[in-house]
């Protein structure tokens, strides 16, 4: 069972539906026991980093996620959930993340030419940098759906795929059992469902 962690941020209807579409049992939950029992975890999120990080902390689920990821349970962060896997974000101040991956979140405005719209909203092509279990069904140039104004930098050791938007921005990351997608696989058609399917087939690392 996949636990979709519900800490009061964003709309989880589509995520739940997309797991149903690939025949994978999934539960939207804020219950620590259910999260501990799950085979895999999804950390979703939309909105502002500070608000989301606070909600995750106040729910106490940050500790649960960290512990479960530390035990080797596969974890995937999506969009803002992916950004929270990193050490910190510079979105309106400096805010600590979960620190499961090396790197930080910075505004894309620092890196892209003026005149490009912010957020990057729409479908853009993946440029695959490194093979990974979650990209085993993905191909170079697969289009996925992005909505973001910030992106991960300094994450070379986990970088799996990038996207070109006036600069090469981080699209997908993964190291050991911790994965993240800046885009929305649950809104990226068949291409996105294949990434979720691949995540569901990743080997749990050290979990009994």
């Amino acid at each position: 069972m996949v636990a979709i962690i519900d800490y009061g941020v964003g709309n989880l209807f589509s995520l739940r539906s997309s797991f149903a579409a690939i025949g994978q049992a999934a539960e939207v939950t804020a219950d620590p026991e259910t999260i501990r029992r799950a085979d895999r975890l999804i950390l979703p999120g939309v909105g502002a980093f500070e608000d989301a990080a606070r909600k995750l902390r106040e729910s106490g689920l940050d500790t649960v996620v960290r512990e479960e990821a530390g035990r080797g349970k596969p974890l995937m962060g999506i969009c803002l959930g992916m950004q929270m896997l990193f050490e910190r974000s510079l979105e309106y101040g400096i805010h600590p993340g979960l620190g499961l991956l090396k790197g930080e979140i910075r505004p894309i405005s620092e890196r892209i030419p003026e005149g490009l719209k912010i957020p990057q909203m729409g479908w853009n092509a993946l440029m695959i940098k490194k093979e990974s279990p979650i990209l085993k069904y993905s191909r170079e140039g697969d289009c996925v759906y992005f909505v973001h104004s910030y992106s991960a930098v300094g994450c070379e050791d986990s970088l799996l795929a990038t996207v070109e938007y006036g600069a090469e921005l981080t699209a997908c990351v993964g190291k050991d059992n911790v994965f993240g997608c800046q885009f929305h696989p649950e809104k990226s058609g068949e291409v996105g469902l294949r990434i979720l399917k691949a995540f569901c087939e990743t080997e749990a690392d050290g979990v009994c």
Binding site: N11, F13, S14, G122, W123, N124
Partner: protein, 254 residues
């Protein structure tokens, strides 16, 4: 490079998809759920569901159709029609909508855009405008194009984007249903004043109309149409291939 989006619009009335010619003579096309799935499988980048009668009759949105669609279609889904309060946002977002489009609701209550943007984020709030030339001036029309508000269109769009609208759908009533191409004059004026994505609507009759749109106005991010897709006059896959052949970035579903 980010691709230009092609968006079929499903005007929904009594659970069916309809498309008016200049907002009149509505004809029945198909089940919205079936049509949405078809489009998603054949290259649509996003879908827009409008409850076209809602603003006039206060009809509740067809949330069961929306829910059913969001269960089976995994591309972004925008919902509009009868969105007057943040409660309306909440209701459709819970049924699987990703973005919510406001039109008459924002005209009635200009604070709605800002309130919704703070609650759900700018990216969730789409301003939709019906625009018509009246004595040479672009005016905003309300209630599905039935009522001239007298407001100047470009100023209204600017104001709403300033309050937090994350995207603008510009529907030209002058070109809508006429099928002679998009309203490039109006769209250019909008692109000049906003930095958020602009979606062109009204007037597409053939593939070349989209090519002209994206070539002449690089600031336009997406093209929206209804009847030419519903009646199969333009297949989205053909349109996307032609776009690519013209050097316009397009997502091809294989």
């Amino acid at each position: 490079m980010i691709t230009k989006r092609i968006i079929p619009c499903l005007d929904v009335k009594d659970g069916r998809v309809v498309k008016g010619v200049n907002f009149q003579n509505l004809g029945d096309v198909a089940s919205p759920v079936d049509l949405a799935k078809y489009y998603s499988d054949h290259g649509a980048d996003e879908l827009v569901f409008y409850d076209i009668t809602a603003s006039a009759e206060g009809r509740a949105l067809f949330t069961d159709i929306l829910t059913e669609t969001a269960r089976t279609v995994f591309i972004p889904l925008t919902v509009g029609g009868g969105i007057n309060t943040t409660d309306d946002f909440d209701r459709v977002l819970k049924c699987g909508a990703d973005k919510v489009s406001v039109n008459s609701g924002a005209i009635r209550d200009p604070s709605l855009v800002g309130k919704a943007a703070r609650l759900y984020g700018d990216q969730c709030v789409v301003l939709s405008v019906d625009v018509k030339r009246v004595d040479g001036v672009f005016r905003i029309f309300a209630k599905g194009g039935r009522e001239n508000t007298g407001m100047e269109a470009i100023e209204w769009v600017k104001r709403c984007v300033g309050e937090g609208a994350g995207e603008v759908v510009v529907n030209s009533m002058d070109t809508d249903g006429v099928r002679q191409g998009f309203d490039l004059e109006l769209l250019e004026k909008v692109c000049d004043v906003v930095k958020v994505p602009v979606i062109a609507s009204g007037g597409a009759g053939k593939i070349e109309d989209f090519i002209e749109l994206f070539q002449k106005l690089p600031g336009v991010d997406a093209g929206l149409a209804a009847s030419i897709f519903h009646f199969g006059e333009v297949e989205i896959e053909d349109l996307k291939r032609t776009m690519r052949n013209h050097g316009i970035p397009a997502r091809i579903v294989e």
